[in-house]
Symmetry: D2
Subunit: 306 residues, 4 copies
C-alpha cells in the first residue's frame, strides 16, 4: 500500500467536529475547514474523529459519515488523513476500522479503552491488535492520552514486540508528559515509525527528545506559528523556537486561568478561523461567549502578525 511508504511527520491538526446549532453533525463545513487549514495554517495532515473531534460523543453512524467527508474533501489538499477509530467497544472499533479502510483513510489510530481499563500492556496490545487485524493494510497508530483515559501503561511497554502482533503498526500519538517514556519510544522506534507528540504547550521539549512530528488541537489555529517553531528547531535556532513556544504557553496559561476545556477550545477556533463549528455536544457544554472572545483577543495580542 502506498501509504506505507509515507512516514507521518510535521504538524498534524486534530480537527474539531462541526455541528449545527441544533447539535447535529454539520458536514457542509468540512470543505471550508480543510481549505482554512491548508491555506491559512499551512497544515498538510489531519487527525479526525479524535478527542478534539468529540468522537466518544458521536455514534458509529456519525463517525462514518464524518470520516467519509474528511477523506473526500481532503483529496488533493491534505497529505494524510488519519481516522481515529477507538471506542470503548471493540466491535464498534472494528466496524469503524473496516470502514476507514474502504473510505481511503491514510491510517487509523486507536485510543486505550478507558471505561474498563486494560490491566496490563499485554491486554492493551491485544485490544489494539484485534482492531488492527480487520484493516491490516492501513497504517496503525496507538493513541496515548493518560490524563483523559486514566490508562497509565507506559507506551514503551505497549510497543514491546508490537510489530509481531500488529504488522501494520506505524507509530504513536503520545499525549502525555512523561518524557522518559516518550524518549524511550523514540529511542526504540523503527525507521518507518512516527513518534508524534500531543501536548502542544511543551512541543519543543519533545522535539529535543526526538519527536518526529506533532498532533494537536491548537494547530488548528496556531499551525502557522508552530510551523515556524519547528523550522527554527530544525535550523538549530533554539532561541527562536523557545520564543514561539513561550508565546503559546502564555496564551494557553491565560486560557487555563479563564477556564479552558474542549467547549472553549472549539469556540476559540470558531472565533479565530471564522468557521462555523457550532457548539460542542453534551456532556461538554458550550463556552460562554465572553470567554472565547477574551482568549481570542489574547491570541491576537500575542500573535499580532496573524
Amino acid at each position: 500500500a502506498p501509504a506505507f511508504a509515507r512516514k507521518l511527520t510535521g504538524l498534524v491538526a486534530a480537527t474539531f467536529t462541526p455541528f449545527t446549532t441544533q447539535g447535529e453533525i454539520n458536514i457542509t463545513e468540512i470543505g471550508r475547514y480543510i481549505d482554512y487549514l491548508a491555506e491559512k495554517q499551512g497544515i498538510s495532515s489531519i487527525f479526525v474523529n479524535g478527542t478534539t473531534g468529540e468522537s466518544m460523543s458521536l455514534n458509529v453512524a456519525e463517525r462514518k459519515i464524518l470520516a467519509e467527508e474528511w477523506c473526500e474533501k481532503a483529496k488533493g489538499k491534505m497529505d494524510q488523513v488519519i481516522v481515529h477509530v477507538g471506542c470503548m467497544c471493540l466491535k464498534d472499533s472494528q466496524e469503524l476500522a473496516r470502514h476507514a479502510a474502504q473510505t481511503g483513510a491514510d491510517g487509523i489510530a486507536v485510543i486505550a479503552p478507558s471505561f474498563f481499563k486494560p490491566n496490563s500492556a499485554e491486554a492493551l496490545r491485544t485490544f489494539l491488535h484485534e482492531v488492527s487485524s480487520v484493516a491490516p493494510t492501513l497504517p496503525f497508530y496507538y493513541y496515548h492520552i493518560p490524563a483523559v483515559t486514566g490508562v497509565n501503561v507506559p507506551v514503551t511497554s505497549v510497543l514491546e514486540n508490537i510489530e509481531e502482533l500488529i504488522p501494520s503498526f506505524r507509530g504513536v500519538k503520545f499525549t502525555g508528559i512523561d518524557l522518559m517514556d516518550f524518549g524511550q519510544c523514540v529511542s526504540y522506534s523503527q525507521p518507518h515509525w512516527s513518534v508524534l507528540y500531543g501536548v502542544d504547550e511543551q512541543l519543543l521539549a519533545a522535539l529535543a527528545m526526538g519527536a518526529h512530528g506533532a498532533v494537536g488541537s491548537t494547530y488548528n489555529y496556531m499551525g502557522c506559528h508552530v510551523s515556524k517553531l519547528m523550522s527554527a528547531f530544525e535550523n538549530g535556532d533554539l532561541i527562536q523556537a523557545r520564543t514561539i513556544q513561550f508565546k503559546m504557553q502564555e496564551l494557553l496559561s491565560y486560557a487555563k486561568k479563564q477556564g479552558f476545556d474542549l467547549g472553549v477550545n472549539k469556540q476559540l477556533m470558531s472565533e479565530v478561523s471564522g468557521l462555523c463549528l457550532g457548539p460542542p455536544r453534551l456532556p461538554v457544554v458550550p463556552c460562554p461567549t465572553a470567554r472565547a472572545l477574551s482568549i481570542a483577543q489574547k491570541y491576537h495580542s500575542i500573535f499580532p502578525e496573524h
Copy 2:
C-alpha cells in the same frame, strides 16, 4: 404507569452478560440465569447491562437484544428489571432509552459519561435529562460510580431540584464510599425515591445511614447470605448483620489479594452457580482458572451452608 407505584428496594443483582466461548453474546443462558437468581439466591430484581454486564464493551445492537431477553425471561419471575442505558454518546443512550421503554423495562439507569467528564453538577444533570426525556414514563435512576468513571460530582449536587428537570426521577445507585454524600442523599430523598447502595463489602454501613436497598454484582452469588444480613439489620440484630458482613469482607479481601477484577468476578459466578457465562470481552481479560477456583473454594469455606 404502574411501575411508578413500586419503590425499588431490597437486593438487586447487577447481572453479568453471558458470552459464548467465541465471545458473542449468549442469550440462551439468560433464562437459566434468572431461574438461578430467583431460586437459589432469592433475588427479585435485576440491574442489567450495567458495569458488571460489561455494557461499555457491547455495541448498541447487542445491548438491545440483551435488554429484550432479560425483560422477556424475567416476566413472572422478577419483580423489576432496570436496564442501564448509559453510554459515552448521548445519542446512543437515547436510542437505548427509547428501546427500553418499548421492551417493558421497569426503569432505566444512566451512568455519568466518563470520557468527556461533565464539568459541573448542572452539566451532568442536563445530560441525564436529555436521556430521560425520550423515555419520560420510565422510572429513571442515576448511577454514581466515581472510582470507575472519575466523575466525582457529589450526588447531593446532582439531585438538587432534579425532579423539576426529570419528573421521572426515582433514585440513585450510589456506588461510592463517601457516606456523607450518601447520607445527605437519603436525608433529602423523596418518599418515592430509592437510594440504593452499590459497594457490597460495606453495605451494612449504608444501611445504618438509611439505604433503601442495594445493587451489586456479588448478590449474584451471595444474595442468599446478604438477604440474611438485611433481615438481621431490619430486626435490629446488628451483631448478626455484622457477622455476615465480615464474612463477605473476608471473602472479598481474599479475592483482592489474589487479583480481583471483572473477569475474575464473572468466572467466580460461573464456578459458584454452574451457569455458563463464558469469558469477558476485551479489554477485560479472562480469569486464570486456578484463581477463580481458589476464590470459589474460599467462598465455600466461609459460607459452608451453601
Copy 3:
C-alpha cells in the same frame, strides 16, 4: 501499668492547639479548654498534638510543653489523654514518646510518616515498632489518615501479627472511608484493642461496622450532640442516631461549600466555645472572620438547643 486495663472508648476530642495572636503556643488556655470539653461537651478523653493540633507545624520543644500541660490540666477531669508523637523523623518521634511516658500520658499514637512513604506494611510496622519500643509501657495506637498522608497501606495489613512486634499495641484511630478495611480491623481486633473511627461525618456507618469509639475534631464543639447519637445507637434507636448524623452532615456540607480547612475549623471552635484559640500557624492560614461566623450561625440554627 493501670492504663493497660482501661480500654479507650466513647468520644475522644482531637484538640486544637491554642496560639497567642502572635502565633506562639498559648498554654494558659488549656485549663479552660479542658473544662469546656468536660462541662459543656461531655468529653472525657482527649487526643492531643494530632492533626487537629497542628503537631507537624510545632517543633519538638513546643510539643513537649503542650503534652505536659494537657496531661497536667487533665488530671481529675479527663479519663484518658492520648499524646500523638508521630513525626516525619523517627528520632523526633522517639524523643516525644519517651517524654510522653515521663509526662503521664495514658497512651501514645503515631501517624504514618508521609514525606518518605513506607513502601510496605512491614516498613510501616517497623517504623511504628521503633517508636513504641522506647516507651514500652504506654498503650500504643496507630493513626491512619490516608487522605492527609497519602499512605494507603490497608490497616488490616499493618495489624498483622502486630502484637508480636509491639506488645503495647492497643488500637487504631482509623480516619479513612474504606469501611471494608475498617470492618476487617474490627473483626480481627483483640478484646483489649480499641478500633476508633475518625471521619466524624460518617460515624454512624462505622458504629454499625463495630467501632469501639471515635476520635475527631468536631467533638470539640459537637460532642454533646454526638453523645446522643452514640446513646441512640447503643439503644437500638437508629432513626434518632441518623437524625443527629444527618444534622452533622448538613453542617459540614455547608462548611465545605464555604471553604472548610483546619484554619476555619479552629476559628469555628473559638466562635462556638468562646475559648481564645488564636490563629493557626503557617502554612495553614487564618480563617476569614465572616466565614467562621456564617458557619457558627448555621451550627446554632441546626442545633438550636445548644
Copy 4:
C-alpha cells in the same frame, strides 16, 4: 554578599546523607564524598539535606551538623553549597536558615510544606517569605517537587512578584514534569535567577525549554556523563545529547522495573562510587544487595567508559 553575584548553573549534585551501619549520621565520609564528586564526577556545586539527603528523616541537630560539615569540607573544592532548610514546621525551618547563614552556605532552599498543604500560591509564598526573612542575605531557592509533596501550586503562580516579598529570591529547583509551568518560569525569570531542573531522566527536554542548570541525585554517579550531555547541547549537537539522555533513561527504566526508591538509589551510589554511605533511615528501607548490584552492572554496561 559575594554569593549574590554568582548565578547557580551547571550540574548540581543532590547529595545523599552518609550513615553508619547503626543508622547514625556519619560525617567522617563527607570529605571523601566531596573529593569523589569533584574528581570523578566533575561536580562543582552541591545541594545538601534535600530529599536525596533524607532531610525529613533527620532531626534539627543532625541537619545542623551535616550542614556544617558539608560547608567546611567543600571549601576550595566546590563552587557553591546550597543547604536545604525546608521542614514541615516553620520554626524549625527558620532555625536551620539562621544556622545556614552562620555556617557559610552559599544559599538556602525550601520545599513546600506537605503535611498541611498551602491552600494557595499566596499561602505558600508567605511561608517561604517567613523562612527567608531570618536569613535575608542568603540567596533563596524554592524547591518544587509535587510528586513527593502533593503540593501542585504552579510555580509560575508562586513566583508572581516574589522579589517584592523575598528580595533574596534567586531561583527554583523545579522537580516536576509540567514543562509549560517550567517554560513560563524560564520565560519570566530575571537575569539573576536560576531556573534549575530536577527530573534527571528528562533533563534534555528542560534544557530545550531554557533550563539554567540541573539539580539531581543521579549526578552523584552520572555527573561525568551528564556533563557531556550538557556540553553537547550547548554546542548544538542534539544527536549526541539525545544519545546520552537515552542511555540515562535506559538505566533508570531498568532500575524502575527492578524497584527503585531512595534506598536503592543510595546503595547504587555506594556501589558505583565505593563510598560508605550506609543504609537509609526508616521509613525508607535498605535495598536488597542483589538489586543494587544488578543496577550497578547495568550502569557499567551502558556507560562502559567509566
